[in-house]
């Protein structure tokens, strides 16, 4: 396979472009930082030269300067009009003056909004959801990290329960159904009642759902490690009793949300709720279609597998997160969404095109050719909702770009949106017949699923959690730790995906050339090592995130003496109450 012919393929060109987009943005960020450092350095040089010059000033020159100084320093006494009485700020207009400039090692970002008045039982529920999600993130990615190591050290253990084939679905399912799903539902318990301007229908049902979801992931993981699974369809490895438990939980929450929306005090249903409720409904449909046995014999299983795999991603994770994005992004930027209509267009286009593309995982296989073609056409159609969504979010940023630099949450939003654009369109490019030929069955798929499930979904969820939790608990994480989390995760993801995509392309070309299979394994070894290194950075960032979560929930255990007038009065009141 010639490099020249490779570069004449539109699918390849699109992919290269899409990989370059985040790289260029990262490079720009680095250049801006570097520019500041260089400018500072030049100023210091100029200062040194200046210092040398003023050492040799003559007395006459000094006199002249002194005189000019006196002239410039002349000022009014400021009491010429107002007299000499002390001024008082009777309306409390000036507040929060910081008179002690801290050490500016890193830039201080804007603080989170003050704590909201929320029913404490709902706050507790949401905190439980997010806590469980964080646990599954750490658990699932620890397993993933171990799997990544196994590519470089296949004999690291010989324990049946830890063998590669059994652990791989433990990793994927734990981060899907444990981390992402639980976090999304937990966040929705805040968003849905909030935009309906009413209380949640039933808090208790929320706990039932949480219990069901957790039980499903625990049972499912144990079964998988014990060698009990559903027959090998990817992401469909949990057996049906486990998925019945999971689905039952989802059904309860769906009912809960619809009841809440039914008694909303706003007239319109804000578009977030369209996405969230639809995602819950569709997940139940998808799970039913995937687990009901009537149409699963022979190739039926494969057609359903393609449908399931992709709808799970697009109609559950993506749809749900987009819904949350339509709420949290305008909130955090403090301005309305750019176009409500574009959000509605994206909603219907997502349902229409995404549903069609499932079988693009089985191009050139024995499933009907027309179905493969429909999948390819649908993949191209995905351009509409993706561009509509990306445009909408980026245009909402317009005029507020300066906020990105002063916020520790907005970078998460921005990366999530960029990967939403590049990751989704990369999926489209992969579905073309030639690129599929080159990349299918290689590690490119693994890189793509991490660009999307991690780059889009996980980054968005982090953005939402960092936005919401301080508002619920009143505790903020250390800005330095959030920064460490962000950069470790982003750099780790790039280290993870770019070597895998490069190696996979070379691997595909090797296969097309008819080289012996084992040569492609040898070829991949250095790329797999890079993947393990990137994976380690990502994993490390999750530990930092778990720590930040703990801080946001428990608060930093510092004893604070009340300073503001309100706090002092409150403290006094408390004291009086206690003495009574």
């Amino acid at each position: 396979m010639e490099t020249k012919t490779l570069l004449s393929q539109s699918g390849i060109l699109i992919t290269i472009f899409l990989i370059l987009v985040p790289l260029v943005i990262a490079a720009l960020l680095v250049m801006i930082k570097a520019g500041a450092v260089i400018r500072n350095y030049r100023r210091r040089q100029a200062l040194a030269a200046f210092n040398n010059r003023i050492k040799s000033l003559s007395p006459a020159e000094l006199d002249q300067l002194q005189q000019r100084k006196a002239e410039l320093e002349f000022s009014l006494q400021h009491n010429e009009l107002g007299g000499t009485l002390e001024a008082a700020d009777r309306k409390g207009l000036i507040d929060g003056i910081d008179t002690s400039p801290g050490l500016h090692f890193i830039e201080t970002k804007k603080r989170a909004q003050p704590k909201h008045d929320m029913p404490p039982e709902l706050v507790r529920l949401i905190t439980w959801y997010l806590g469980c999600a964080v646990f599954w993130l750490v658990f699932g990615t620890t397993v993933g990290e171990y799997l990544g190591i196994k590519f470089s050290a296949p004999d690291i253990d010989h324990v049946p329960w830890l063998s590669f084939g059994r652990l791989r679905p433990v990793h994927t399912n734990a981060v899907f159904w444990g981390w992402a799903s639980i976090a999304m539902v937990g966040l929705a318990y805040y968003v849905v009642p909030r935009i309906c301007n009413t209380a949640i229908h039933n808090v208790k049902w929320g706990y039932h759902t949480l219990l069901a979801m957790n039980a499903a992931v625990v049972l499912g993981s144990l079964q998988l490690m014990a060698g009990v699974n559903n027959g090998g369809g990817e992401y469909r490895e949990y057996t049906w009793p486990v998925m019945v438990v999971f689905g039952g939980g989802i059904l309860l929450t769906l009912f809960n949300f619809i009841k809440t929306i039914g008694r909303r005090t706003t007239r319109e249903i804000y578009v977030s709720n369209w996405y969230v409720v639809s995602a819950l409904m569709f997940l139940l449909v998808i799970a039913f279609v995937a687990y009901f046995p009537a149409w699963q014999n022979g190739l039926g299983e494969t057609i359903i597998q393609g449908y399931y795999m992709h709808q799970g991603v697009g109609m559950w994770f993506m749809l749900f997160c987009l819904g949350l994005m339509y709420y949290f992004l305008p909130q955090q930027l403090n301005k309305p969404i750019y176009s409500y209509g574009l959000g509605i267009l994206a909603f219907w286009a997502q349902i229409l095109f995404y549903t069609l593309i499932g079988t693009h995982h089985f191009i050139f296989s024995a499933i009907p050719w027309w179905l493969q073609t429909v999948a390819i056409v649908g993949s191209a159609g995905m351009i509409i909702p993706v561009i509509a969504g990306t445009t909408n979010f980026l245009m909402t940023f317009r005029g507020a770009w300066n906020k990105v630099a002063h916020s520790y949450t907005l970078p998460f939003y921005l990366i999530g949106i960029i990967f939403y654009f590049t990751g989704s369109l990369q999926g489209t490019a992969e579905a073309f017949r030639f690129t599929n030929l080159l990349w299918h069955f290689t590690d490119f798929t693994v890189a793509h699923s991490h660009l999307t499930m991690y780059g889009i979904i996980t980054f968005m969820l982090w953005a939402f959690i960092y936005t919401l939790l301080p508002r619920l608990t009143g505790n903020e994480p250390s800005q330095l730790a959030v920064g460490a989390h962000f950069w470790l995760a982003l750099i780790g993801l790039l280290f993870y995906t770019i070597p895998l995509m490069t190696g996979a392309t070379l691997k595909g070309m090797m296969w097309m050339d008819g080289k012996p299979f084992i040569e492609s394994v040898v070829l991949m070894k250095p790329f797999w090592l890079w993947r393990a290194i990137g994976g380690s950075l990502m994993w490390l960032s999750h530990l930092v995130f778990a720590f930040n979560f703990y801080v946001m929930v428990k608060g930093r255990n510092t004893v604070q003496t009340p300073e503001s007038a309100i706090d002092i009065l409150n403290a006094r009141e408390q004291m009086d109450l206690q003495t009574i």
Binding site: R168, G231, E237, N297, I363
Partner: protein
Amino acid sequence: MEFFNQHTKLFGVALSLFLFLTLIVAILPAWNNQQSNKPLPGAHILTADEMEGKKIYIANGCVACHSQQVRNVDMDKVFGDRPSIAADYAGIGRPDLWSNTATLMGTERTGPDLINIGRRQPSMAWHLLHLYQPRAVVEQSIMPAYPWLFEVREKTGPDDVEVAVPEKYRSGITGKIVATKAALQLVAYLQSLKQQALPDGSRPAEFLYKKEKTISADNNGNPALPDGAQLYTQNCQSCHQANGEGLPGAFPPLKGSPVVNGDDVELFVNIIMRGYDPRPEYASMPAIGSINGLTPEEVAAIINHERSSWGNQAGPVSPDEVKKIMDFILLTEKSN
């Protein structure tokens, strides 16, 4: 629009649209495929042991790295004789109440495709050793080892199948390493994976995206032979090893072998094309040349590679000579 403000209608419409599309692109095609395809005549039905082996294959998640499908593209030709068709999977149903139909088509090839592995690598001895420790047969392999499918015994009984594990991979085990029933069942399943020939008269689909064949010539103007070393890696190396020394107790060495270095080209070609099993101390050799559809040029290239590597110094054979012998083999096989 008022419609957007009525939640029951809005969600009802969204759900209906999704259900309608689901019906069209998933449920109906799936159901149609299930109803309208039947297994090919003479298709192999898994025996009880093979079925148990398949369950072990499923339980250990082998599908994570091994696909079971030949796509209708040229690059997949190494894994099977013809593209897979719906009928190949038509006989597969649910193995039990708890798990779904397992066509095991797969989406990832970290390891090679296995749809035709029973034909490409029929040797039980090879599979058992490979399962016990993949790196004992394929040095660069990253496949997990499955030692828990084997037992260590002091003495072997008459029905026990012992695995000849090289010293390097025994990790201090002095007893005899014997395959458990599960290992034998798994191998039985792998051996059963063979592409079923199409009924007489029907032609398989074409392989698409054919590689352009470039024919180069050597100094004398004769067409040059294909790359023998590469063909050796593809067809012979997993047993006879890269250093040509084979594995003691399992696969004989080619280095210094009287057959490889001898003058009896007919015997050599016959072994490659029809298999060989005269020596009880070694596993039997499959008819690898016929199974993989090697051409006379490719067989000649492999022979010449083997005759000139690892210190072997026998002279080359010509493709014409090989072709004559292969034609004769074909003739005798037909007349049988």
